[in-house]
Symmetry: C2
Subunit: 306 residues, 2 copies
């Protein structure tokens, strides 16, 4: 089965906009009307062997990641997280001390983002550890930023360095909640997504949703120290890691080209390319040549091409 095909099928069926559904499941989070209020709503899961390795990850990090992935999705809408509920599916022989450490990791992260965990379900089962989190967010006066708002001529930017998150950042990243609010308030973003699948894949999503193409400048891509370290080990280049690795949870966004200077001065992000008419993405190499940039990357844990 193709995950992508099933997700596309789901999306074709659910969450059609209209009525009380303002933004559907194709974006980082849904936006719905409850009474007079706009509410952002998102769920996500982490599973042992897919999103972390329980043999090596600290339990606090697992709890952090389970919640932080949802926080990052709310950030990608420029929303404010508010309330979370957590469903833990735990192996039958898990010790209570271990589960408490997971929970405390989640709790600490919740607190630092002023989010209250208001409900928890818990089931022991014969399988591996899995945690699903659902998060409610608010917009507090800012219009949600969608994946679909990129316009030709926009600058493309990211909030931080990319690549090599498998070396540790994927368990410890800080969701860019505050940064997203500040950027949107100061600059008025056109579109946004968080980098969970990798720069090339997520820029592909953004372009597809917006019906545009993009050019990314090699020399502008912020390559992380981890991407360089990983490249020394595995023979791929640091650039490949910055383009292809997932789970950096930096924000990838577009803004009016005229605001690029303001962005750079703010210290909150860095321009890496531009939105163009048409479809497809290209990489402009340092020597000025251009090549196709396929929306592909590598998955974590297993490190399979994805």
């Amino acid at each position: 089965m193709s995950e992508r095909s099933f997700l596309r099928w789901i999306r074709s069926r659910i969450g059609r906009r209209g009525g009380r559904i303002e933004i559907d499941s194709g974006d980082d989070a849904a936006s719905v009307r409850v009474g007079g209020e706009r509410v952002l709503f998102k769920t996500d899961s982490v599973i042992d062997g897919v999103h972390f390795d329980a043999r090596t990850a600290r339990p606090e990090e697992i709890g952090h990641k389970a919640l932080a992935r949802c926080l990052s999705d709310i950030a990608a809408m420029a929303g404010v997280p508010a309330f979370a509920v957590v469903a833990m599916m735990v192996p039958r022989r898990s010790g209570e001390a271990y589960l408490r450490r997971i929970y405390r990791g989640m709790e600490r992260t919740a607190r630092s983002f002023r989010t209250a965990v208001v409900g928890g379900d818990f089931a022991s089962h014969p399988g591996k550890l899995a945690i699903s989190v659902a998060l409610l967010g608010e917009t507090e006066g800012l219009q949600p930023v969608l994946r679909s708002g990129a316009r030709p001529g926009d600058a493309v930017a990211v909030t931080g360095p990319l690549g090599g998150s498998i070396l540790g950042k994927h368990l410890r990243f800080r969701p860019r909640v505050r940064e997203a609010r500040e950027l949107h308030r100061r600059i008025g973003l056109h579109s946004m997504i968080d980098v969970s699948d990798g720069l090339a894949v997520d820029l592909g999503h953004l372009c597809e949703e917006s019906g545009v193409g993009a050019v990314v400048y090699e020399r502008r891509i912020p390559v992380s120290a981890a991407a360089r370290r990983l490249a020394r080990r595995d023979g791929r280049t640091p650039l490949e890691h910055a383009l292809g690795d997932g789970e950096d949870y930096e924000l990838l966004f577009t803004l009016p080209a005229g605001k690029a200077g303001a962005l750079e001065r703010s210290g909150l992000g860095r321009v890496i390319g531009e939105v163009v008419r048409g479809r497809g993405m290209r990489l402009q190499r340092t020597d000025g040549s251009r090549q196709a940039l396929p929306p592909a990357g590598w998955e974590h844990v297993t490190n399979q091409p994805g």
Copy 2:
């Protein structure tokens, strides 16, 4: 590890009432304030081998059950379900046709309860099928009914027959959303919980949260046909099944004794006992004798005492 002890620990840490949290995770759902609106919020999971058996359950039933358990929790607060998000964790070799059937089962149930599925996350993994659902509900002018509102002198009642749900009802039950609203509007319920763990266990929860005891009359307990069928097979009595089996998802509630006649005339429920001062539950046998009713039951699928 004891599930109960971990849940108690979680509850001691999360969701303290106060501020924007009106009702915490110790009830069927949390109630929080978003802007000026009261929102009910709940998550729950179903796991292959624990809550259903993928070898025998129809995929549509699995989808139904995943959502309907959450719907039942919102019903138990007399709330109105509105929006759901769904996280599916599926075995790597699942066929897309199979997953679509699960999804369609969920969708059909959502539609019949005017609930919109607005977001879906999907991850394939090496383990078994698990589905987490999170549900947002509204109160639409009715005060949420808590587990903690039972008062000495209240009548104890249920919405329908109990026991033997393992023979099929646990996959096909109808959450009592409409019934709960109507009951609360007509009668003004004092407390409510849905029967997921079994009558004795869930009445125990309700008594504990309310700081009261209860007497249940054997001759009033609505024993289901399934409980009788199961009893013929396994040598337990139909009454044991009605008291101990879980997953009927009927509502168990208390009301002012003076409204018991109105309840019976409404056809929406049946009085089975009364709330008393003090602690502990007793069963009044048909011969008038009374015996202790321990808050215990039997778990499904595995049929282990739980």
